[in-house]
Amino acid sequence: MSLTPSSPSPDSVEDELELSAVRHRPEGLEQLEALTRFNRKELQILYRGFKNECPSGVVNEDTFKVIYSQFFPQGDASMYAHFLFNAFDTDKDGSVSFEDFVIGLSILLRGSVQEKLNWAFNLYDINKDGCITKEEMLDIMKAIYDMMGKCTYPLLKDDTPRQHVEIFFQKMDKNKDGVVTIEEFIDCCQNDENIMRSMQLFENVI
């Protein structure tokens, strides 16, 4: 990964300035082809779109939120975008480079069901400790409901997220220990028809 700051700034307070001065160039096409399941052409199209929106080569969280909100104008997608950002940012450096982006996409669109469920678990597990607690689930649920906005049917009450979390935990938490581990999650999803069917839909997105 070549990170070449064009103007090294000694002052660490000017984080934003530093980020915009950083130019990130991704690995060559061959390496990316090996890392992901996209072919050359698809990578080219993805990179062009990525670079168009983020000319500096990396996405920071604000840009991420802005882009994602444009797809969901009716609600407030910023919390969900925040969780998504953390899920994409695998090396936890505060920015999503093209490699992170395309590796994430590869898992989501071309990965096996196991990998996808793994990724979804990673998204829900906010503090990345290997298990989902009710509070984490509640945060995610609230973020999703915020994103959907007010135009839902039937109309949401304030404690609908909490009820939804209860239903989810009843379904997923087999040993009733208050947390959902990755094995419980994957197990339960694989046994659920609806979820399996929805997973198939991601095949032809690109």
């Binding site: 199209i45 979804a120 939804h164 929805s198």
Partner: protein, 368 residues
């Protein structure tokens, strides 16, 4: 949706995995994209200069010429490119609009040429980015004003079947339209000059006989000067009435500056006619004669330079007003200071603040 963000659609769809396991019902199927997924380069030949771009770039704005099927009309089968016989320099901005989603207005570009290009390619100018919008609006306004001025100048063309009244009005406004108008123009100019000269010479002392002390010519040759004055005022009155008759909008004519000057020029004479031999108001009458000097402003109709001076003053009226205001403020401040500074001394000329005004004004304007 912004142009480039459409490329992030697969990402947005993929992110839906987040709420799938928690959804109560199965997800709906994503709509199939029937367009060709693989992109192709389009060649746009604009007067010989070849621009190339992706088809999807142009497809971002389907209600413009390049984004819709309208461009098929310009397709050349043999060279497999789209040929446009337009200005390649302007086309640069237009193509950049598709690429970046922002329309810029380059400064070197002529505003009407640019507008024409935009209209041809079906792009509305309102989407010009904030960076260039001010410039665009300013240039457009200037252009509109210039066109307006041109139209006004072009009103000289001969219009058929004008009524007698309209002909007269045109003759008054523009003396070069007919010989009669020219004659009228010069006659009125001559009489304005005579009138002003008379007013001036009236006051010159010309005592010829040694027995009488020097008295101004006006009192010596009263009858002659009175006849002169009457003749001039008669001419001016006739001119004013004729203009009033010919004016297309009489109300607007009476409100215009020139007509007010006309009225002010001839009024003192009539007032003088009405109240001669009345000792009480003769003093006021004398003051009224001062207004006769306004006849000199009637020359504005004859001199374009004077009119331009008038317009200049009018257009920078706000600046002049501010100058006057700030001067007044300074005068009041310093007059007050002077008054209170000299208050203790008994033999002072600054007996009140208004009394100090004169000193302040004279000092500030460096007259001394």
């Amino acid at each position: 949706m912004a142009a480039g963000v459409a490329a992030w659609l697969p990402f947005a769809r993929a992110a839906a995995i987040g709420w799938m396991p928690v959804a109560n019902c199965p997800m709906p199927v994503a709509p199939r994209d029937h367009r060709k997924r693989h992109d192709e380069l389009i060649i746009l030949n604009v007067s010989g200069r070849r621009f190339q771009t992706w088809r999807t770039t142009l497809d971002r704005y389907p209600d413009t010429l390049l984004g819709s099927s309208e461009k098929q009309f310009f397709y050349d089968e043999e060279t497999k490119e789209y040929f446009f016989d337009r200005d390649p320099d302007s086309f640069r901005s237009i193509l950049n609009f598709y690429r970046t989603g922002k329309l810029h207005y380059p400064r070197y570009e002529c505003i009407s040429a640019y507008d024409e290009e935009l209209t041809f390619f079906g792009i509305i100018p309102e989407i010009i980015g904030d960076c260039c919008y001010e410039e665009y609006k300013d240039r457009k306004r200037e252009n509109a004003e210039r066109l307006q001025d041109d139209q006004d100048d072009n009103k000289d063309c001969k219009l058929p079947n004008m009524t007698y009244r309209e002909t007269m009005w045109r003759a008054f406004e523009n003396p070069h339209t007919s010989t009669m108008a020219l004659v009228f123009y010069y006659v009125t100019g001559f009489f304005i000059a005579i009138s002003v000269l008379t007013n001036v010479i009236e006051t010159v002392p010309c005592g010829a006989t040694p027995s009488q002390k020097d008295m101004p010519c006006g009192e010596r040759y009263t009858i002659a000067f009175f006849c002169m004055d009457t003749a001039c005022v008669l001419i001016f009155t006739v001119e004013y009435l004729m203009r009033l008759f010919a004016a297309p909008s009489r109300y607007q004519f009476m409100r215009s500056v020139m007509s007010i000057i006309d009225v002010v020029a001839i009024f003192p004479y009539y007032i003088g006619l009405v109240m001669t031999d009345n000792e009480d108001v003769s003093g006021a009458f004398v003051t009224l004669r001062v207004f006769r000097v306004f006849r000199i402003f009637k020359f504005s109709r004859h001199s374009q330079g004077l009119r331009i001076l008038g317009y200049t003053l009018k257009s920078c009226a706000s600046e002049l007003g501010f100058l006057l205001f700030s001067l007044t403020m300074a005068i009041i401040i310093f007059a007050t200071v002077m008054f209170y500074a000299e208050k203790g001394s008994s033999s002072t000329k600054f007996t009140s603040i208004p009394a100090s005004f004169w000193y302040t004004i004279v000092t500030m304007t460096t007259l001394g």
